[in-house]
Subunit: 481 residues, 2 copies
Amino acid sequence: MILLRTSLSFAPTRGLCRALSSRLLSSPTPVDGMLDIDVVGGVTKIKDLKVGMEVKVGGWVRTARSQKTLSFLNLNDGSTLSGLQAVLPPSSTPLPTTGASVVCVGSVIESPSSGQDHELQVTSWKTYGLAPDFPLAKKRHTLEYLRTLPHLRHRTNTLAAISRLRSTLSQGIHKFFESEGCINVMAPIITTSDCEGAGEMFSVSCNDDTVGDKFFSKDVYLSVSGQLACEALACGLGSVYTFGPTFRAENSNTKKHLAEFYMLEPELAFEDKFGAMSNCERLIKFLISEAWSTNSEDMEFFSKFYDKTLPEKRDGILTSEFTKLSYTTAITELQNEISKDPTKWQFPNVEFGTDLQTEHERWLCETFTKKPTFIYDYPTSIKPFYMRLNDNPDTVGAFDLLVPGIGELVGGSQREERLDILEERMEGMEGYEWYKDLRRYGTVPHSGYGLGFERLICYLSGVENIREANAFPRSPGVAEM
Amino acid sequence: MILLRTSLSFAPTRGLCRALSSRLLSSPTPVDGMLDIDVVGGVTKIKDLKVGMEVKVGGWVRTARSQKTLSFLNLNDGSTLSGLQAVLPPSSTPLPTTGASVVCVGSVIESPSSGQDHELQVTSWKTYGLAPDFPLAKKRHTLEYLRTLPHLRHRTNTLAAISRLRSTLSQGIHKFFESEGCINVMAPIITTSDCEGAGEMFSVSCNDDTVGDKFFSKDVYLSVSGQLACEALACGLGSVYTFGPTFRAENSNTKKHLAEFYMLEPELAFEDKFGAMSNCERLIKFLISEAWSTNSEDMEFFSKFYDKTLPEKRDGILTSEFTKLSYTTAITELQNEISKDPTKWQFPNVEFGTDLQTEHERWLCETFTKKPTFIYDYPTSIKPFYMRLNDNPDTVGAFDLLVPGIGELVGGSQREERLDILEERMEGMEGYEWYKDLRRYGTVPHSGYGLGFERLICYLSGVENIREANAFPRSPGVAEM
């Protein structure tokens, strides 16, 4: 159906269609093993193959080699890391090369080769799309080079494994919050709010003359966080979560920052900061567990090539509680450690009120506690208006989760639910009457957090640069496709 | 812990914190039934209550009434439509009013009242947040009025039911595609591509002086569709889907259009247009089934107040195949019908090449077939470059799904996978070399579609205006919160 065009008539109607020349008829003739394969429909995923099945498989050639009487293709369809060994019968047609697309029909049999349970004994096959000069034909490429090919790089082991992990984690997030009885909401992207009270935002505008100067009749931005909208929904629907794109127009070209990234933001009604921390800990344990059970082959791959300690990390996380340290305790511990040799530290002056630097965060979770660590009750002076003032008003009910190798993975807090205190803290801020209304009408204690999804992927995979964790990373100067 | 503040010390550090006056200490004293309730943590959702449970429940008062010896609260926590009847013991404190937040402790018992299985026999309770002058205190409000209160309207039956339905459908989408072996990907929001080749886009800019004129060194926009990015991922990972926000800067203030809306876009490798239609049909049947099984109370509510035919629609959809009509057949049928009485039609002139108007679409699915109907193989002249040219090149492998009451719910196509034909159709378009690369290197047949999520919600709930289907609707002149 795809390959045979019987009608030669060609008359684009109404002149609206770009003229198509007779080249229409010169589409590349596929190179076949046998001609009787329909390449469309009915394809079985390589991950679902089991010995005894008669199947059609479609995928892309990773390697091809010929022996005297047989040929071997390693075929990958994106569903697994290792792909499938397809054993081809003798054929007069040339073997497809790396990157070509192939459809094979045959039987799944036990494999005599080591390193695989089964292989495909091919009865007929067809090379559908050739791949001359395929840019990924060579086996090894640097991650930096692969970033220049965002439309192709998921055809490599690392990027495909990350894509599968990302999918499993996304599914895991939805499963976890469904099991917790939270409602999935979607915070708006175009917004007039600036949740953080700081931070650079992208502006959104419209050039359509018919709507005048401003499409929305006011200045609008891309959301830096869905928190405030989620607070509104949680105060009525009960606990909710949003999991969607957020944006920061910060000129930071680091391994840990993207201008567009996915953030998970649960907002839990009738929970305090400890309830939110507990929810977060259960979530992360669940996701690690999902990653290793659903994507075991990919996780082994990451352990082999990116971070040999991944299995040990996993076991540590699954079998113990995350540490909880108050900010004040953390400062005391840091002061003790720094006093031993201040010259080892770039920022040796640490006291109550200090915004923790990366070296402090890393020492806390990598050396002092050696595991994921919540730091909570930060100084009021360094945190935004919406965080709940503690009984000791020098601190607010904020918390961060620090993890080895990444630093801050999660930031959250109990929200200020008392109208009079909130009004004091919001003095001078305009346009947030709706936010105060949430405290005017049936206010409830509530808490939430934000988890950077790409950082989580880096943490679980051991892949260092956040540009690998997002298929189409955006950063200063970079917005491909 | 929430209510008792023991420390009176108050010294914001470092002068960075906005000064807080002694009003800190004057937060409203809660009005209590009994004082020994911690309002934080351990709350059971009303939907999970069963006779015999000893529970703590937190929620908002819908109605309150007193009898001689007992008082009754209808309490709603967002988890169900009907909420919970809480029966309060005699108390000297006043009953909370509509909108107030309350926490109750007690036993779930069989209810003597009609219309409910169980109720809560309250032993102690606490009004946590009052709600004087609550704007939704009156029972009935127009949907138009509720739109002026986007931060509160989900505290009403209709909007809460839509929020729950939306969550169930979102979860259902993820479950369906996981069961189909599709990888969940996230197409970028900030993009340089204009997938439709037309349509107004929002521009994104950054005012940070440190990054010069353009943050991304080029003009960028908000995505109108993730299709092209998904095609890249499908050609390597196999079938994928993206489910995220998309944007149209069109100056259309209708019941069917939003400037920001969620779209589901699957892209299926090795499938043709019929495979994609079949996937779409299975998805919609699954989602209807999920909605009625998970949200039965809400669906009954919609049937009662918004569209009495919903149960009939559901049964029709679940028990029969969607109709498939070629565009050419649809035109013939329309011509026959119109010829009976052309004066009944606003657009009576219909011929091959006509872009179907709403009245045509509605007649086709509401009168002619009376069910969801795929129209496929549209004229090449009215469809974009990426749709696959048929053997008869007057038409491309496009399809739309028309549903009664809504019109177009889904638009999709088989994509042009042949490089030479694609190049002809893309003549003059710049910046899409990466898209052509997908056909240069191992091209495969693939197909996909886009489903407007808010339209689906309207279709399933019978709620007419798309502004109810999105918690924070954006349209010309409107971007609240």
